[in-house]
């Protein structure tokens, strides 16, 4: 027994992870992306982050997340999305905290929308300039704003689809691995069938059938087809752990199956599962981006990175439509893969120092 503070498994894994600079760098990048995704409306937008209007404080920027989150009063007062002028006109005592960059991801900023600013240039004139850091697309919509808000979409896709996949995969794998017998046979066959379904083709089929395909459909399908690797891994871990001696000791103490699964097997089985989940986030982002690039993503105006690439297809002279989203996709996928690798090394018991 040493005098150092007692560290559990995750604390030790973390300590191992932070020893690798590449993994730490990737983790910081992922963290930065998450911050950007959450704070997107505060980073780039034409709606105030916070404003005081007619005596009350509102946060109109939330409208970027969902239309219903935009305070209704601004619709009633006929702001029509143009805040700077209207705020000052309709309430001289109003004040507002504006996003860092006054640009909108869904439309081109008009002339004098922000006092003293010209309208966003469009088409070939939209190369990166002081007001449009990453340039504008063919309709004049600012690319930087699109990319910032596209981060939200990308991460949402990754997290939601992988969350769904992880839930399904862990449940199916755990059931098969723990109970064995016909339960295992059933879950294995189901896993194998789902493995054969090509996700992208299924998404395209849904898009063709549905009237109004949204990105949520894409996420649901990615989640519903991406769980098979996780299920197999979980099943393997459960099979292995079910026979371990501490599980037998728990049974000898009188523990029932539920207690054994939740307290003994699951905590030990989860560490390896995190790795494919991380890789899965990267591949989900990539899948959505690919679909958008091919034109099957959410309808315009869309802030997804893939849609920027799609625009670039017909406007190849506008190099900024390729370079920035392309780099962002590349770095994001790379970062998630590095984090996944780092996690794998940090949690793999075989790589830990030899005992005895």
């Amino acid at each position: 027994m040493s005098e150092t503070p007692s560290r559990g498994f995750w604390a030790e894994a973390w300590a191992r992870l932070v020893r690798k600079p590449l993994a730490v760098g990737a983790l910081c990048f992922v963290g930065l992306l998450a911050a950007v995704a959450v704070l997107a409306p505060a980073i780039a937008g034409t709606k105030p982050v916070l404003c005081r209007y007619k005596g009350r404080i509102y946060a109109p920027c939330l409208g970027y997340f969902h239309r219903s989150l935009e305070p209704a009063i601004f619709a009633r007062d006929r702001f029509r999305g143009t805040y700077p002028q209207n705020l000052r006109d309709k309430d001289p005592e109003s004040w507002a905290i504006w996003p860092l960059v006054f640009q909108d991801p869904y439309r081109a900023v008009r002339e004098n929308e922000w006092p003293g600013r010209p309208a966003n240039p469009a088409k070939g004139d939209g190369h990166p300039n002081r007001l449009n850091l990453f340039g504008t697309d063919q309709y004049g919509v600012d690319v930087f704003a699109k990319m910032v808000h596209g981060t939200t979409i990308a991460l949402l896709v990754g997290v939601v689809s992988m969350g769904l996949a992880a839930t399904i995969g862990i449940l199916v794998g755990a059931a098969g691995g723990y109970f064995g017998g016909w339960v295992d046979m059933l879950s294995s066959r189901v896993t194998e069938v789902v493995m054969c379904v090509p996700p992208l083709v299924l998404i395209l089929a849904f898009i063709a059938i549905l009237e109004k395909p949204t990105i949520w459909h894409t996420m649901a399908i990615l989640g519903a087809t991406g769980w098979t690797g996780i299920a197999r891994l979980t099943r393997g871990e459960f099979l292995r752990l079910r026979q371990s001696e501490f599980v037998m000791a728990a049974r000898a103490a009188g523990a029932g199956p539920l207690r054994i699964i939740l307290r003994h097997v699951l905590p030990n089985a989860l560490a390896p599962v995190l790795v494919p989940v991380t890789f899965g986030i990267a591949s989900a982002i990539l899948a959505e981006t690919s679909l958008s690039f091919l034109g099957f993503g959410p309808p315009p105006p869309s802030a997804s990175w893939g849609s920027l690439l799609n625009d670039a297809r017909s406007n190849l002279s506008m190099w900024w439509l390729v370079v920035f989203p392309g780099t962002a996709i590349f770095l994001t996928v790379l970062a998630y893969n590095l984090v996944g690798e780092g996690l794998q090394e940090a949690t793999d018991p075989r790589l830990r120092e030899a005992r005895k």
């Binding site: 027994m1 728990a250 049974r251 307290r263």
Partner: protein
């Protein structure tokens, strides 16, 4: 419900059989079975210790696990304090589980690495709803102190302890719910020599203090002799000989027991004497030999040994399954000491004649 009688044994195992099916093919058809335990019978009286010795594959670990139903027996009877262990289920089984516990061989695998020692020890108490949280704390502390650890250990993880300390934690876990019967499955085999002695002393001390009954499973003959009151020798799923400890070690009758004792390297100055070296390897429990299971490797094997499995011959608490030993016993008029000497002579003679030296290595099942 008949009251348990003081003279009745605490643990009564009768013709226990545990077979593991071997499945092959797409439909997982059972093509055979590994007969890990194939007709084992013994009793353990309250407060006594039965030592179970044998080499790997003899089934001794499976016997221990079968009694606790950690592995389901395929046949035979297991009675604990008069109750049929195999017939109970649900709540009754859980209540029974409180009274019998197990300590495993591997100190690294038998403790959940994600649980602190507190949670590990508390689990039994929680499952059986023993005591208030304050009382549980007191019981855990007492159990830890009994096994030579301090209460500070409660807030640490298993990986912070050495092998010997982890085994103490495993023992504390077993005794914290105050069982009556403890199966010790090779509890010291994975430990260093200097730690083994500490843990053996601890087990003996606990037995006195808590009035425990032990089934001590091991391949280490000298430790078994030290710890046990009675000893049974297992080979390929069956008991070949059993007797009170001192008698077995002083007067072994079965050729396998003789070979086992002679094979252990000993520190006796000047000893480089002839050792009984058995030919071949232990056959697979999936295809045990016909007749007496030991006959392919036995230096004294005769025709009758190849044909029929030897019945039990018992004299004065000393039980042996061997045709040759039975015959010698009769010849000696029931005198165990004389028979033991005769068996030793016969085996030596057979060795000298080269009977046990021609290797007849059995082929392993290439599964």
């Amino acid at each position: 419900m008949p009251q348990p009688d003081d003279a009745a044994p605490l643990v009564d195992v009768a013709d226990l059989r545990t077979h593991f099916p071997v499945r092959r093919g797409l439909l997982r058809r059972t093509v055979g079975s590994v007969r890990a335990v194939d007709g084992v019978s013994f009793t353990i009286r309250r407060g006594r210790t039965l030592g179970l010795v044998g080499e790997s594959g003899c089934g001794k670990t499976t016997v221990g696990r079968s009694i606790l139903r950690l592995v389901e027996p395929t046949g035979g009877g297991v009675r604990f304090d008069g109750r049929d262990v195999r017939a109970t289920g649900g709540r009754e089984l859980r209540a029974l589980r409180r009274r019998m516990q197990i300590v495993f061989q591997d100190p690294y695998g038998s403790l959940n690495p994600r649980m602190k020692v507190r949670a590990i020890l508390e689990e039994g108490l929680v499952i059986h709803r023993l005591g208030t949280p304050a009382e549980r704390q007191a019981r855990m502390t007492r159990a830890l102190e009994r096994t030579g650890l301090t209460p500070a250990a409660l807030d640490r993880y298993p990986h912070e302890f050495s092998g010997g300390q982890r085994q103490r934690i495993a023992i504390a876990r077993a005794i914290v719910i105050e069982p009556e019967f403890l199966v010790l499955d090779e509890p010291i085999s994975a430990l260093d020599v200097s730690i083994q002695a500490q843990v053996v002393n601890l087990l003996v001390e606990l037995r006195e203090q808590l009035g425990l009954t032990y089934l001590f499973i091991s391949h280490d003959l000298s430790v078994v002799e030290y710890v046990s009151d009675d000893v049974a020798v297992m080979y390929l799923g069956r008991i070949v000989e059993s007797a009170p400890a001192e008698r077995l070690y002083a007067e072994p009758l079965h050729p396998y027991t003789l070979a086992l004792f002679s094979a252990v390297p000993r520190i006796e100055p000047g000893r480089r004497s002839r050792r009984i070296v058995l030919a071949g390897d232990v056959p697979s429990p999936a295809r045990p030999p016909a007749g007496c299971r030991f006959h392919p490797r036995c230096p004294l094997a005769e025709q009758v040994c190849r044909e029929s499995s030897p019945p039990a011959t018992a004299v004065d608490g000393h039980l042996v399954h061997c045709h040759v030993a039975a015959r010698e016993l009769e010849r000696a008029g029931g005198g165990v000491a004389a028979t033991a000497a005769a068996m030793a002579r016969l085996v030596e003679a057979a060795q000298a004649a080269g009977a046990g030296v021609s290797p007849t290595d059995e082929r392993r099942d290439g599964a």
